[in-house]
């Protein structure tokens, strides 16, 4: 009967046998968000066609789409487990959760079996780790086999009627705290997953036994790798082999052992329970997850991201939806082991105990410099002193501020952590923590690693290679933070290179900002056109697919205008007068979506990279260079595919009509901004191309006027340009100067904005639910409070923040004629009060929040740089579908898919910006160092004018516009007076007191200083004028 017509798949009804009935259903209780408990019943089908993955297996070989991955001979070089055919490792969940670094570093020749139980548990506990695990599975030369044990008839566990089944219960999804508990917790009650994993091992043992033996030898042995002692005992009771990570690594051949033993996470639970009641408990325990959830729903607890203060290591904030202001956490105990970026739950203190943020700079490197990594009990005097001092100051503050309670902030303490966002951190070794006695031998010792990021605490780790790490940068991964320990425990991952060598700095920067920088893999490069470099636009013919629905714009006088040395040319422009007096203007964008098809490896890679990252001396591409700098790049004098937006505009800049089309163009010239400017200004040139640029320019001026009238902000952030001397082999920074803006910059910008806005309207109209748009939310008024107050008090100026137009106007009035930089400074500070722009999916937010505050446009997207931004690629696809060029790929019709993709892109975008800035900062540092070498020993590298932007109880934060550098001036001796109300510090000098307050222009001496214990180069600033601060 079932004669399948065409190529329909085989459809079957899964018939259940009576024997399966005990396994047929999963029953569990679930607590809803509202606290109601419901019983959930799910079906489960057991299968016989789950392959075992063994090359030598005859039984599983016939299953559909099956490719064996486990070799007939396992890993044979281990010194303890010497089975003649070697062994495979079966990985338990706790290994992935606790020892992922080790797992990834194990030699590829060790075959791994991953039971699906492990996979499900990992996915449930930590998505980042799950993603890393997926990466490991797909690694080409590694033998990893996922065994779907839960679905296999012989290994499925009968699910007991448990209160919370792990892989299903959504509300407990983020409960990853179990890891923190001592191992004893799991010993009392054996969980089903452990049983499941042991069953899988048992299955393999019997399954392999039933297979014909390979010539003369036997099948490999299976070895369970787990750090759960109970699991190991039970396994050996069942006659299975099991080992802990420590034991396994110690038994590896020597060269591997040395390499890997540092990677074993310290908390690798081998019964290493906390040292009991003899050690002092420093932190309170976290509350159980259920209590936290209940507290959050009832509103007594608040959930948010923990944000450590970079200036003061004993202070942090948590932004919560309930309060406008951030919740302040003061002191070690209140922060309760939260690390920057964690999602924490905070309990508020009674209002009487609320505090104002500290006005002091507290550097943990300095304060805690003598703390001993080995010894918990001997608390360093200095640390205690610093903390006591802080407490005293706080009290003083509290008293002082009692009269003016408005400065107080809600204050709380951390009672639990919802989610740890730990990753590997780039660190230096704190040399003072390395013991001298051990400096020669390769003995294991406990040392401190100081993260480069100032917001992170020092990490304690055990290593055998401390002496060789002294001048290195290296990666450290956090493992745990026990309530008995001042510092978190971590383990060494790998060394990056010598401090201040450019390679190490660059790599550490990329790692620190999580920029994926691996070269593109084979699968991705296979998606490129096979012609490679020699790909050209085929000659025009009606039946060519490329020319279908494409307009031939090769005759138009199109040119591109870009910064010097730009290789990935995304955009080109043209303009020409029309017979009716109007002007036709066109923006032509590289047609990336022609080469990057949805849902192939190149597309997924681009989606996960999100954006191209520009560092001072390196560019990390989003797309392979062949596309980015050649096939897609709109280079001059060659034909290229483009996506064009063409307007008819009146001479006043009003849009008459808009159309979009795929096209073929041939750019006539690639200008730099300067060259285009010169060409435009050169009155002797009257050729059509120059006329076109002039036409574009006049229109751009009109467009800009229109935007400004609507209330667009012109904001400012310091932009620097680093001159690199490329004559020698390695680029050396020569000098730093501020970027200048030409008329042609604004020309290009205006037309790109116009294109983006037009495209946004079009795709929003066509796909109201899933259009890829970009918005900039208006900042909450409270963000501006401090700035408004300072401006009012110090300069008598007001800032109207009621709308972007009002803000733009009042910013224009913040001018001091004698100090032209003052306005820029205010703009910089205002920019910092704003929210960041973000991509979003039009269906997921209400329509009245689409607006772009900074550009004062009701709708906006990114369309013009598809080579370097993934959101633009999506916009291209949607626009192509909106004009009926191609059907829209289903993934772009799914709101959840678009949302997911954009949240990745948003994050990457933010990190890329930070990485770029950090790179500039590094080079500014290098340039300063170069200057100070020239200046000679002891002399400052530079003496520059600076503005005070913030005052602390014991210091000033200043901004040096010339270098785009922000720095801190500390006053060590307590001889100054601090007035928080007036944002001022009074400094003693020979001529009496000199008051320095926010916005004051001062002169600072800048020098580079190397921290003695961490090798971290720091920019050090000292006040020169009005008072020399060296002695303060």
């Amino acid at each position: 009967m079932a004669e399948t017509e065409r190529s329909l798949p085989v459809i079957t009804i899964f018939k259940r046998t009576r024997n399966d009935l005990p396994f047929a259903q999963k029953k569990f209780l679930k607590k809803t968000k509202r606290g109601k408990v419901i019983k959930v019943l799910r079906e489960r089908y057991l299968r016989d066609d789950i392959p075992c993955g063994y090359e030598g297996c005859t039984e599983c070989a016939d299953y559909p789409g099956y490719k064996a991955a486990l070799p007939a001979v396992g890993f044979t070089k281990h010194t303890k487990w010497r089975h003649e055919a070697g062994h495979w490792l079966v990985v338990d969940t706790n290994i992935v959760l606790g020892q992922m670094d080790l797992l990834a570093a194990l030699p590829a020749s060790i075959p791994l079996v991953l039971p699906s139980t492990t996979l499900a548990e990992v996915r449930h506990r930590s998505l980042p780790l799950y993603n890393r695990l997926q990466q490991l599975i797909t690694e080409e030369d590694r033998h990893v086999w996922v065994f779907w044990n839960e679905q296999h008839r012989e290994t499925a566990t009968k699910v007991e009627y448990t209160a919370a089944l792990q892989d299903e219960d959504e509300d407990l999804e983020e409960a990853d705290e179990e890891k923190e508990k001592p191992v004893t917790g799991t010993q009392t009650m054996e969980s089903t997953p452990r049983v499941a994993i042991r069953l899988a091992l048992q299955f393999y043992a019997t399954h392999l036994m039933s297979q014909p033996k390979p010539r003369g030898s036997s099948h490999p042995q299976l070895l369970l790798l787990t750090d759960d002692r109970a699991n190991r005992t039970k396994a050996s009771d069942m006659g299975l082999s099991a080992t802990s990570t420590r034991e396994y690594v110690d038994g590896l051949p020597d060269e591997l052992k040395v390499k890997l033993s540092d990677l074993v996470a310290t908390s690798s639970g081998d019964g290493h329970a906390p040292r009991g009641d003899t050690t002092k408990r420093i932190y309170t325990d976290y509350l159980p997850q259920a209590t936290l959830q209940a507290g959050i729903t009832r509103g007594i607890f608040h959930q948010g991201y923990f944000n450590a203060d970079p200036y003061n290591y004993l202070e942090g904030t948590v932004s919560s939806a309930t309060y406008d202001k951030k919740i302040l956490l003061v002191g070690r105990e209140s922060m309760n082991r939260a690390v920057n970026g964690d999602v924490v739950v905070v309990e508020l203190l009674p209002e009487a105990e609320w505090k104002a943020p500290g006005e002091e700079v507290l550097d943990q490197d300095v304060a805690l410099k003598d703390d001993d990594a080995d010894d918990e009990e001997a608390e360093a005097e200095e640390a205690r002193e610093a903390e006591a001092k802080l407490a005293a100051k706080e009290e003083q503050n509290a008293r002082g501020l009692a009269a003016k309670p408005k400065i107080k902030q809600p204050t709380g303490r951390v009672v639990g952590v919802i989610k740890r966002n730990w990753r590997a951190y780039v660190c230096h070794l704190d040399s003072s923590s390395v013991s001298d006695a051990a400096s020669t031998a390769l003995a294991q010792q406990t040392v401190f690693a100081t993260p480069v990021d100032r917001k992170l605490p020092r990490i304690r780790m055990r290593t055998r290679q401390a002496p060789s790490l002294l001048d290195q940068k290296f990666l450290v991964s956090l493992d745990s933070w026990s309530p008995y320990s001042r510092y978190p425990d971590g383990h060494f991952v790998r060394a990056l290179g010598k401090v201040e060598s450019k390679e190490a700095e660059q790599e550490s920067l990329l790692l620190e900002y999580e920029v994926p920088y691996r070269p593109f893999g084979r699968a991705i490069l296979d998606c490129l056109p096979t012609e490679g470099e020699s790909w050209v636009v085929p000659s025009k013919s009606a039946d060519n697919v490329i020319w279908r629905d494409r307009e031939d714009l090769r005759d138009l006088l199109i040119c591109s205008i870009d910064p010097v040395g730009c290789q990935d040319i995304d955009d080109a422009l043209h303009a020409r007068p029309l017979p009716n007096g109007n002007i036709e203007a066109g923006v032509h964008i590289a047609d990336v979506s022609h080469f990057v098809h949805p849902d192939n490896p190149m597309d997924s890679e681009a989606a996960s990279r999100g954006t191209t990252v520009y560092l001072v001396d390196k560019r990390i591409d989003m797309l392979p260079a062949l596309l980015g700098t050649n096939l897609c790049s709109l280079r001059p004098f060659v034909e290229r595919l483009a996506f064009s937006a063409i307007w008819e505009l009146t001479p006043e800049g009003e849009i008459v009509s808009t159309r979009f089309t795929k096209s073929v163009i041939a750019s006539k010239e690639a200008f730099t901004y300067q060259a285009a400017q010169d060409r435009k200004d050169d009155k002797s040139l009257q050729d059509p191309l120059t006329q076109g640029i002039r036409l574009l320019n006049t229109l751009a001026i009109k467009l800009k006027e229109g935007r400004m009238r609507a209330g667009a902000l012109s904001l400012s952030s310091p932009e620097l340009k680093i001159h690199l001397d490329t004559n020698e082999g390695a680029p050396e920074p020569i000098d730093v100067e501020q970027k200048q803006s030409l008329e042609t910059n604004s020309l290009v910008e205006e037309f790109m904005l116009l294109a983006n806005i037009s495209v946004a309207k079009k795709i929003q109209e066509a796909y109201p639910q899933t259009a890829v748009l970009r918005r900039h939310l208006p900042p909450p008024k409270t963000n501006f409070e401090t700035l408004q107050d300072i401006l009012q008090k110090k300069k008598g100026m007001t800032l109207d923040v009621t709308s972007s137009k009002a803000l733009a106007e009042s910013l224009d009035h913040c001018v001091i004629p004698s100090e032209p930089e003052f306005n820029t400074l205010v703009r910089i500070m205002a920019t910092r009060c704003m929210l960041a722009a973000e991509y979003f999916c039009s269906g997921s937010v209400s329509k009245d929040t689409f607006g772009h505050y900074g550009l004062a446009s009701p709708i906006y997207t990114h369309f013009t740089s598809p080579i370097r931004r993934y959101a633009d690629v999506l916009a291209h696809r949607q626009l192509a579908a909106a004009i009926g060029y191609t059907p829209l790929h289903p993934s772009l019709q799914s709101k959840s898919h678009v949302e997911r993709t954009l949240s990745v892109v948003n994050r990457r975008h933010r990190l890329a910006q930070m990485a770029g800035r950090a790179s500039v900062e590094f080079y500014v540092g290098l340039a300063l160092k170069g200057r100070s070498l020239k200046a000679g020993e002891g002399a400052p590298a530079a003496t520059e004018d600076a503005f005070v932007i913030r005052t602390f109880r014991n210091g000033l934060a200043v901004f040096v516009p010339q270098l785009g550098l922000e720095g801190l001036i500390e006053f060590k001796k307590d001889v100054h007076k601090f007035d928080p109300e007036e944002y001022a510090i009074a400094l003693p000098s020979e001529k009496g007191e000199v008051v320095v307050s926010v916005f004051d222009k001062v002169t600072v001496a800048i020098s580079i200083e190397k921290d003695k214990s961490t090798q971290r180069a720091k920019v050090k600033m000292e006040l020169v004028k009005p008072v020399a601060s060296a002695s303060l």
Binding site: I13, L41, V146, H889, P890
Partner: protein, 250 residues
Amino acid sequence: MSSSRIEILNEGGLRQDGRRPYELRSIAMTFTPHPTADGSATMQQGLTTVSATVFGPREPKGQSRGQVRHDQAFITVEVGEAAWAQQGGGKRTREVAAAVRDTFEPVVMLHLYPRTEISVYIQVLGSDGGILSTAINATTLALIDAGVAMSDYITSLSIGLHLTQPLLDLSSPEESDIPHLVIASLPGTGKVTLATLETRIHVDRFEEMVDVGVEACRILHGEMREEVRRRTGRVVERMQMGQGHGAAGS
């Protein structure tokens, strides 16, 4: 790859409950659970259990008298849900009722029964996705059980779409997570009498899903026909036994 809460299809090509994309859930059918009615049947697809009871063709009574048509019968459908299986509430059940009526009107040979009413009472006894399709399947069986003339079976199934992969016969967690289409078709001709879709799906995918769905309905039909034949065989056997017995007695 995906970060949604449940993994619709894992790397091993298995769904949440261990099925592959083109595998239907285990089915079970019971005929005449309510002997007082003219015909009844219970259909179980996975954990979804629906019981359909048919009265008629009979003389219209009470309120429905106004709907009487002189040349043909009319169908009334009522849907009730057991308290433990409730999901959508009143609106949802009314929708199911309307969909079932519309589905069967063209297939039941109404002109054979003028001035009569055929009442179908549907009870949802367990819900785990695919209520509508199970209700349609149960109604087909109940109508057959009642001996009402129909031009063909109607079988129905839900088809979901995970990225580009169609999935057949969705369970309730899948149903709440991915776009899905309910199809009812006449397996003999391959005609589609019902297709409901509440989310947006791309046109290209839609065609593929309908094709797969129609084919799956055909498979389901094979199974149902087998069951109907087995049962009819048993009935005939018993009747013959009764006849033989009677003949011997006379």
